[in-house]
Structure formats: structure tokens, C-alpha cells
């Protein structure tokens, strides 16, 4: 997947995957606010309108409910719409459509109608954005039966996971970490190969403890692993990548070896996705655990404005501190 192609950013990889998917399958459509001539406010859809025209790249009126709802209608008719919601803070109106319709169209009609759509949206903080532009709603969508929820954390994984999301026969919520959009570049070959939507990725192996995270938080999590390594502690780092369905085996296998786990998320702690992972570990790896499961998370507060958001966002130092707490158990 990576290695042989041009070095591109995560948002560039999203763009590349969209181009690839549209070239491969005429049923793939892109719709959303400003996705056409403007190429999207983050340029994720740049060039698509020029390549495929306004019948496949649709600038919509400013109406989030209908962006999701129209995508459902298109999907039921055999198209593969990829709907962009400009920021996840504005994806909440779509929750109704995704939960009450997209996620259950297949079940309601016993497979007669299906909903192969993707709702993609940049999410998360740390970009000094204005209010409502830094939200982390992944747990809301992950809670819903019938939806897949994916959050890539590198250009190569963004490319492969988005391709698979578009090709998936069911609805996928694809949250792109805004903070990582241009944070790093990586060589991504445009092979057209997707990555599995039911697999966690082990980014780094280590015998002492397991750090589990997803999306933008992998950045701090990997930094923390470096800092821990300076202390002589070998951390295994797992990128969950697909939150739903969860590849619990990779996590449990790791915890079985390390006996210690820290879950890192940016979203508020209560009822966050980290709680799900903690519960799975408690159920599936209790006898391996040498220390209580630790969560490093955002607070149960409204996402602060840019001047204070750094206090909210989990830092590498907080992750290291949590790791040291679990290491303290002998």
C-alpha cells in the first residue's frame, strides 16, 4: 500500500481514494456543501468536479439532514453516494437520518433495499478552530447497530479504509481527523486496494503495556510510546481504525501478552468509545490483567475554544503518566 507512491497528506489520500473510487465505479457520487468547484473547504474533493462534472459531484444546498437523507435515497437506487458533512459538529442533524434510516434500511426491508453510502466528515480538535468545529462524535455513531464507523490515522490507512468504506455494501460513517489532515505526509501508492474494515492495526510492538487509540490521538500515543521507550518501557501501540465492528481479538491478544492497557481518546470520557474497549478487555482478558485499565480522555465538558483546548486534549505527557500508573502495579 504505502512505499511506492507519491508522498501525500491524509487529506490528499482521501482525495486520491475518492478519485480512484469514482474512476472505478460510475455509481460513486460525491455530494455536500462546497464539494464542487471549491473542492471542499479542506480540499478533500479537489479536482473531482473538474474530472467528473456536476452530475457526479453535487454541491448541495446548506442542509445537513438532507445531505444524509438524499444519500440514502441515492443509495437505495443503486448509487454509492459519498456525502461530506463539512465538520462533524454539523453532523448531529444527520444522526437522525443515519440512525433511523441508513442503519436499518436493510433490516427493515429484509435486504430488499440497502444503503451503501458513506458519510464522511472531518472531526476532532487541536486545529484552533471556532466553536463546533472540533467535535468527536464517533461513539454516537458506533452505538448504532447497522453502521460501520471508521477513523483513519495515516494517509495510507485513510486511502485504503476510505476505498473499502465506499465499496462496502452498508452505510459507513468515516471520520477524518482534521488535525492530521496535513500533519504528515506518507508515500501512498494508488493501487486501488482497500484495507479491511474489521481489523485493528498494530503500529508498534512492545511487551510491557498496550496503548490503544484511534484517529488523531495516535499522534500523541506514538509520541508517548517513544517517551516510554526512553524510560525502558516497551509499549505496544494499536490503531483501532474501525471502531465498529471492533476487532477485539487484536486488542485482547496484545493485552494477554502485556497485561496492561491504556486507552486513549479525545472524546469526552463518559460513555466514550474507550469505555467499550475497557469493557471488552475486562471481559476477555481479565485474568491477564496486571493492573486496572486506564483511560486517558477528553473531559465531560463542552469542547473548549482554541485558547484552552490544549488543556482538554490528552497529551503525550498524560498518556505517559497513565502508563506509569499501570506500570506501578507489580
Amino acid at each position: 500500500m504505502s512505499g511506492t507512491g507519491a508522498e501525500i497528506s491524509l487529506v490528499g489520500a482521501v482525495n486520491l481514494a475518492l478519485k480512484r473510487a469514482m474512476a472505478d465505479d460510475p455509481a460513486v457520487l460525491v455530494l455536500g456543501e462546497d464539494v464542487g468547484i471549491d473542492g471542499g473547504v479542506f480540499r478533500a474533493t479537489e479536482g473531482l468536479w473538474q474530472l467528473y462534472g456536476e452530475t457526479r459531484v453535487l454541491d448541495t444546498p446548506l442542509a445537513e439532514v438532507s445531505i444524509a437523507g438524499v444519500a440514502i435515497g441515492l443509495a437505495a437506487q443503486g448509487f454509492r453516494p459519498v456525502a461530506e458533512i463539512q465538520f462533524t459538529g454539523f453532523a448531529y442533524p444527520c444522526v437522525d437520518q443515519m440512525i433511523n434510516h441508513a442503519s436499518r434500511l436493510r433490516t427493515r426491508t429484509q435486504g430488499r433495499l440497502t444503503c451503501p453510502m458513506v458519510l464522511r466528515s472531518p472531526g476532532g480538535g487541536g486545529i484552533r478552530a471556532i466553536e463546533h468545529h472540533s467535535e468527536s462524535p464517533e461513539a454516537i455513531f458506533a452505538h448504532m447497530p447497522g453502521l460501520r464507523v471508521v477513523m483513519p490515522s495515516s494517509p495510507a490507512r485513510a486511502y485504503g479504509l476510505l476505498l473499502s468504506a465506499i465499496r462496502d455494501p452498508d452505510p459507513v460513517v468515516f471520520i477524518e481527523p482534521t488535525r492530521l489532515y496535513r500533519a504528515a505526509r506518507e508515500a501512498v501508492a494508488d493501487t486501488g486496494e482497500g484495507l479491511p474494515l474489521d481489523t485493528c492495526f498494530v503500529l508498534r510492538e512492545g511487551r510491557d503495556l498496550t496503548l490503544v487509540s484511534w484517529g488523531a490521538m495516535l499522534k500523541e500515543t506514538l509520541e508517548a510510546a517513544d517517551l516510554l521507550s526512553d524510560q525502558g518501557i516497551a509499549a505496544e501501540v494499536i490503531d483501532v481504525a474501525t471502531l465498529k465492528p471492533l476487532d477485539e481479538k487484536t486488542i485482547l491478544d496484545s493485552v494477554a501478552r502485556t497485561g496492561r492497557v491504556v486507552v486513549v481518546q479525545e472524546a469526552p470520557i463518559t460513555c466514550g468509545y474507550g469505555a467499550e474497549i475497557a469493557a471488552r478487555v475486562a471481559t476477555g482478558a481479565l485474568t491477564s490483567l496486571l493492573a486496572p485499565i486506564q483511560r486517558v480522555a477528553g473531559c465531560d465538558t463542552v469542547m473548549p475554544y482554541p485558547r484552552t483546548e490544549e488543556h482538554y486534549m490528552p497529551s503525550a505527557a498524560r498518556i505517559v503518566a497513565a502508563a506509569n500508573r499501570v506500570m506501578a502495579y507489580t
Binding site: 433511523n100 426491508t109 435486504g111
Partner: protein, 355 residues
């Protein structure tokens, strides 16, 4: 101040409540068989309605939403549709569903709480009954857009109630359909009530048809108890949509003679004296009166039709009642195209297997 735009909302009625012709009869309405087909569909819908309520009252069906008194809207509308148009219905369009080939058994199954009732053997592309109010309107825009993108001369037809017109979803959908000139026909089934809230408390607008004006699409009102008007106006709107003329909003003014659903008691919020005048306006009586006067519909014709409809409904109810429920693990069958591994374990646990 100068006036830079002016609007008006037209209204159509062809048969008045006494069965008298008060407008231009469209071509189809001179054909006795066509009218009998419409009448039969309304009678069948009402027979289904009565049976559904009876089954619910005896604990053999779930909560049910009656369409008593408003049969002309779905029947007239469906009669104007072609098989390859797509219906995106709310929850009172049994008449339209039956006309389009959804079976009585399937309707009973759905209201009996069985998803197989939405797996229509007939209109495979039609959407299932939408229980949330108004949220299906954007789906119709998506369906219509799909047809337009494929350059197919087809249309999507969406029905919702007067209460639904207060939802942003519906207004967004009208607006988007207008922008894209999507081949969609929206029908407000204005039955006067959103559960206990009367039409006047839903919006200060004089008509619901004028909700179209803000979206830049044509909007008109019809007498929704006049099946001839319903079919005629829908014919026109559908023809326009299929030939690239864009969307239309039709407000069909009717009246909900029943409770909102079998879980509702309408006497809590409206007097019998408010309801009874509407029995003189209802759609079956007026078409029957006209059929009798203009086409020699007889008492014997009427009795034979009622018997045939009751028999069909009874037979379907028997089939429904004899259909065993799905096994517990069926709930996993269509959650995803392929069951993810982490759900396999849940399925095994539910069915008593090992985790």
C-alpha cells in the same frame, strides 16, 4: 414599495361532496371501469382498515394507523403512478401500497410487527413505511435525483402529513428538489390533525401548498376527498416530473375520521360534532353517488364488491395469523450484508450457542 413577485395557490375539485361534477372531468373519468377500479381500491383499503383495527383490538396486531376517510389520497395518487415510479410513503398510504402491488398479507405482517412485511414481493424499489414523521422526504429527493442522473423518465412520490410540513426535513427536501429540478411529487396528506394538534396550530400559513413557494416549485391544493381530482392533478404533476419539468407539491385536503392510531383516543381533543360533518364529505360516498348516477352502479354491484373485499382481507388476515414469527437469530440476518465477527458471538449467545 413595489411588488416584485406575486404568488397564488390554486385549488381543484371535480366531484363535490354530493357527487355532482363541478369541474372539467379528465379523460379517464369518463371510463366506467377506471372509476370502478378507483372505487374498488378505496373500498378494499377501508376493508383492510376495519380488519386491522379489529385485529388490534383483539391483541392480534400491533398499533395501527388508520386511513379511514382519507382513502382518496393514496388511491388517486397511486393510480397516477407508473409501476416503475417509486413510492416513498408515510404511514397512512395503505391504499397506495395496495394499488402498487404490496399485498394485504404484507401490510398485516408489517403492522403485526414483522419486518418481512416490508419485503414487498411487488414494488421492489418502493420505500418501506416511514414511522418517523417527515424524515423520508429527503429520501424521495435522492431517489428522484438517481432517476434524473440516469435520465430515466420516472418519478419519486413522497407522501407526508400536515404535521410533517413543520419539520425541517420536509422543507429541506422541497428546497433541494427545487434546486435540482428532481422528478419528485410531494403530497401533503392534510387530514387536519397531527395527533391532537389541529392544522391551524401547525403553521400560520393559509395553505400548506404554499410551502412550495419558498422552494421555488409549483404548489397547489386539491379536494383530497375527490379521488378524481387527486388522480388528475397527480397525473399532471407526474407527467411534468418524468419529462424534466421538476417537482411539485400537492396539498390534498381531507379529514382523519378515525383516531390517530389505535393507541389514541381522539375524543380527548375533539368533539363528535366537529367530526360528524366530515362524514358527509368522505371520498367513498361521493364516488359511489356519482357512479350510481352516471354509470348505473347498483346495490348488487355494491354488495358484491363489499363481499369480495371483505373476503380478500379475511383470507389475508388468516395467512398472516398463520405465519410463524421469525426465529430469534433473524434479527442478525440483515443488520449488515455480511455479519461482522464480533456480532457472530452475540448471535451465538442469543441462540444458546457458545460465545
Amino acid at each position: 414599495m413595489t411588488t416584485i413577485a406575486e404568488f397564488s395557490i390554486g385549488s381543484t375539485r371535480i366531484l363535490d361532496p354530493s357527487g355532482a361534477v363541478v369541474g372539467d372531468l379528465p379523460d379517464f373519468a369518463s371510463d366506467r371501469d377506471e372509476l370502478v377500479a378507483l372505487y374498488r381500491a378505496m373500498v378494499l383499503t377501508r376493508a383492510f382498515d376495519a380488519k386491522a383495527i379489529a385485529l388490534q383490538r383483539t391483541g392480534r396486531l400491533g398499533t395501527y394507523a388508520s386511513s379511514l376517510g382519507q382513502e382518496a389520497v393514496p388511491v388517486g395518487l397511486a393510480a397516477a403512478m407508473r409501476p416503475d415510479d417509486v413510492l416513498v410513503p408515510s404511514f397512512r398510504e395503505h391504499g397506495a401500497q395496495l394499488w402498487r402491488g404490496v399485498t394485504l398479507e404484507e401490510l398485516f405482517l408489517f403492522w403485526g410487527g414483522d419486518e418481512r412485511g416490508n419485503d414487498f414481493a411487488g414494488p421492489r424499489e418502493d420505500f418501506p413505511t416511514c414511522v418517523p414523521v417527515g424524515t423520508h422526504a429527503p429520501h424521495a429527493v435522492g431517489v428522484a435525483l438517481a432517476m434524473k442522473l440516469r435520465q430515466e423518465p420516472r418519478a419519486a412520490v413522497c407522501v407526508f402529513g400536515d404535521g410533517a410540513t413543520s419539520k425541517g426535513d420536509v422543507l429541506e427536501a422541497l428546497n433541494m428538489a427545487g434546486v435540482w429540478q428532481a422528478p419528485a411529487v410531494f403530497v401533503v396528506n392534510n387530514n387536519g390533525w397531527a395527533i391532537s394538534v389541529p392544522r391551524a396550530r401547525q403553521t400560520a400559513a393559509e395553505t400548506l401548498a404554499q410551502k412550495a413557494i419558498g422552494a421555488g416549485i409549483p404548489g397547489e391544493q386539491i379536494d383530497g376527498n375527490d379521488v378524481i381530482a387527486m388522480r388528475h392533478v397527480a397525473d399532471r404533476a407526474l407527467a411534468r416530473a418524468r419529462s424534466g419539468g421538476g417537482p411539485t407539491l400537492i396539498e390534498a385536503v381531507t379529514y382523519r375520521l378515525s383516531d390517530h392510531t389505535t393507541a389514541d383516543d381522539a375524543s380527548r381533543y375533539r368533539e363528535d360534532t366537529d367530526v360528524s360533518p366530515h362524514w358527509k364529505q368522505e371520498p367513498l360516498v361521493r364516488l359511489r353517488t356519482y357512479l350510481t348516477a352516471a354509470h348505473g352502479w347498483t346495490k348488487a354491484d355494491e354488495e358484491a364488491l363489499l363481499r369480495a373485499c371483505d373476503d380478500a382481507v379475511d383470507a389475508a388476515a388468516e395467512t398472516y395469523l398463520a405465519t410463524p414469527p421469525m426465529p430469534p437469530d433473524a434479527m442478525f440476518a440483515h443488520t449488515f450484508a455480511e455479519l461482522p465477527a464480533d456480532l457472530e458471538a452475540q448471535k451465538a449467545a442469543l441462540t444458546g450457542g457458545d460465545e
